[in-house]
């Protein structure tokens, strides 16, 4: 890198290129936020779903599971768990409520979180809401 290419030119590419692509990114983000209402299932968000997301966060579910593929890779994907469990919120609630307190010898086991009936319903409704987000057909199949 010598000859005609000067430090000033390199600096201008840095500042000019960065500002330009920040603006492009902001424009795309703006367009995304206007397109989201048709995709993100926001109509389904109610008080129960809101509580469900709080239960999800307050128990750090993302520390083991993925949700729409993001999170930890220790336990199954939950973005489509509602569908995997036969479109049943009852099955989700039963699974969470039935976790053994002391785990399963030698195997991975979800902790017993001692959720109330209201919290169980909320987390199940939150996962149902999540399963109805338009994710461009991800995951590839029911197994997540």
């Amino acid at each position: 890198m010598s000859g005609g290419f000067t430090k000033a030119m390199a600096r201008n590419i840095f500042y000019g290129g960065s500002v330009f692509f920040i603006l492009v990114f902001l424009a795309l983000t703006f367009d995304t936020t206007t397109a989201l209402p048709k995709r993100d299932n926001r109509a389904a968000i109610n008080e129960t779903v809101t509580l469900g997301k709080k239960v999800w966060e307050d128990n750090n579910c993302i520390g083991c599971h993925t949700l729409l593929g993001e999170g930890a890779y220790f336990a199954p994907e939950l973005g489509n768990v509602y569908i995997r469990f036969g479109n049943s919120t009852e099955a989700i609630k039963g699974f969470i409520a039935g976790r053994p307190k002391d785990g399963i010898p030698g195997r991975r086991s979800m902790p017993q979180f001692n959720l109330s009936a209201e919290e169980l319903e909320a987390i199940a409704q939150f996962l149902k809401y999540t399963s109805e987000i338009n994710t461009e057909n991800w995951p590839p199949n029911i197994q997540g």
Binding site: M1, F5, K7, A10, R11, I13, F14, G17, S18, F21, V24, F25, L28, D31, T32, T33, A35, L36, R39, D40, N41, I45, K53, W56, E57, D58, N60, I62, G63, C64, T66, L68, G69, E70, G71, A72, Y73, F74, A75, P76, E77, K101, D102, G103, R107, R108, S109, P111, Q112, F113, T130, I133, T135, E136, W138, P140, N141, I142, Q143, G144
Partner: protein, 460 residues
């Protein structure tokens, strides 16, 4: 050491290494839990150990970046630090807040921690990497703002160099994008979109500026190559970083409810993200080849070249491997992601911090330029043990990821997650063995600080 106030870097570096040890110990716990599912259950469930592992990583890297900044800014600005006292006060605040947060993770259930820290007032917890209680997040903002005030005042009163300017842009960007950690809407898609403004725009954006600036500083000091040449390289590298990396955020917007056009934007721009990392390799090797002096600190030069190479492999190559959307459709959120994350963080960020520690610590401990030859040889052994350990961690996770992707997502009869996990357990065992090698390397690294002996002198 040219300026007295550079000494504040020392406690930052020591804390960074200490927290690094904690991170690796919890990494080994996690690795074992992958194959012995009930290990430490229910006392330390996987999610708690993982939170400690990733949060310690972030905090020790921040300690490392701050220490690096306090060390190099006075030298670049040719003036004492604005306030060494503020730097030391912030060190203790950050360390105590960090320790309390980790103790909180370990001693009380996460839901209780959320409750007693007032998460209901401003819910920000329970999101990957942003698990810290809201009050800890506010504390991080205060510490970082105090730190930025201190170094910005120093730069303003002294000489302005490209290295210090780029470093400051990176650090200010770090602070600004962290503010998105406080935005947590109920709408999961919006939550995820802006969560990436912290995570992606940190590690594939402004942190690369910090890395490149520190690397440039080390190369200026150890090779004696003309600053003009190094600064030109620095500009070109970080220009490519931001030109590719900002829109490259789109590779996280494929499957989270965002519009399908992100598959094009994300694939094309993130496919170019390896370019700045490759340029860093060329840069580091070129500068070392054209060196105009023989710096006695060979270990620091090894770390500097190592970080460029490993960042290119981990972030560049392993990132590219699963960044195109048709590939990512199958690999998203699998062990492939974990493989990439491990080598990228080690190569780009753990190693750049160890490079600056390696360069600066001898001076901070009262030597002229370098440790004894014996100490350096031990440090280089540590370099190779940790680096080879990480290469194998990455390869075994990649093997696990390929099998997982095949069995669970590609084959004609996709199998359930846990069935697949059992089938690939051998790879997890091998990963754990590689992790033990990494830990041994880290212990050798720490031991190298306690090897005395006559200071190595420049040969030329």
């Amino acid at each position: 050491m040219q300026y007295q106030s550079q000494a504040v870097a020392k406690p930052y570096f020591i804390a960074a290494i200490g927290l690094f040890v904690g991170q690796i110990l919890f990494g080994l716990i996690l690795g074992l839990q992958y194959v012995v599912g009930d290990f430490l259950f229910p006392e330390i469930p996987f999610n708690v150990a993982r939170m400690v592992h990733t949060n310690l990583l972030i905090v020790w890297l921040l300690f490392g970046f701050m220490g690096a900044t306090y060390y190099l800014i006075p030298e670049e600005s040719e003036t004492e630090l604005h306030s060494p006292k503020l730097a030391l006060a912030l060190f203790w605040i950050f360390l105590v807040a960090g320790a309390l947060t980790v103790l909180g993770y370990l001693l009380v259930p996460y839901a209780t921690l959320a409750e007693i820290t007032g998460n209901d007032l401003l819910p920000t917890m329970g999101r990957e990497f942003l698990e810290q209680p809201t009050i800890t997040k506010i504390g991080i903002v205060i510490v970082v703002l105090g730190f930025l005030f201190n170094v910005t005042m120093t730069v303003l009163k002294g000489r302005k160099t490209v290295v210090s300017t780029i470093l400051l842009i990176g650090l200010w960007g770090l602070a600004i994008f962290f503010l998105f950690a406080f935005y947590n809407p109920t709408n999961l898609v919006l939550d995820k979109v802006f969560w990436w403004w912290v995570v992606h725009l940190w590690v594939e954006g402004v942190w690369e500026l910090i890395m490149a600036a520190i690397l440039a500083f080390i190369l200026i000091k150890t090779t004696g190559v003309d600053r003009e040449i190094i600064e030109k390289w620095l500009y070109v590298i970080i220009a490519m970083t931001l030109i590719t990396g900002i829109i490259g955020t789109g590779h996280h917007y494929y499957w989270i409810g965002t519009p399908g056009y992100w598959q094009w934007w994300g694939s094309i721009f993130s496919a170019l993200e390896p370019i700045p990392f490759f340029m860093m390799v060329i840069f580091a090797f070129n500068m070392v080849n054209k060196r105009r002096r023989e710096h006695p600190n060979k270990a620091a030069v090894l770390w500097a070249m190592g970080t460029a190479v490993m960042a290119f492999l981990g972030a560049g190559v392993w990132g590219f491997m699963h960044t195109l959307s048709p590939v990512n459709y199958y690999t998203h959120g699998s062990q492939i992601t974990a493989a990439h994350g491990h080598m990228a963080f080690y190569g780009a960020y753990a190693m750049i911090v160890m490079a600056i520690i390696s360069y600066a610590m001898p001076m901070l401990r009262g030597r002229e330029a370098a440790n004894s030859e014996k100490s350096q040889i031990m440090e280089m052994w540590a370099f190779w043990l940790m680096t080879v350990g990480m290469v194998f961690i990455t390869l075994f996770l990649t093997g696990a990821g390929i099998l997982q992707t095949w069995l669970q997502r590609v084959s004609d009869n996709p199998e359930p997650f846990m069935v697949v996990q059992d089938k690939i357990a051998l790879f997890y065992w091998m990963r754990e063995v590689a992790g033990v090698v990494f830990l041994i390397g880290l212990l050798v690294y720490i031991a190298s600080f306690f090897i005395g002996g006559e200071e190595k002198k420049a040969t030329a």
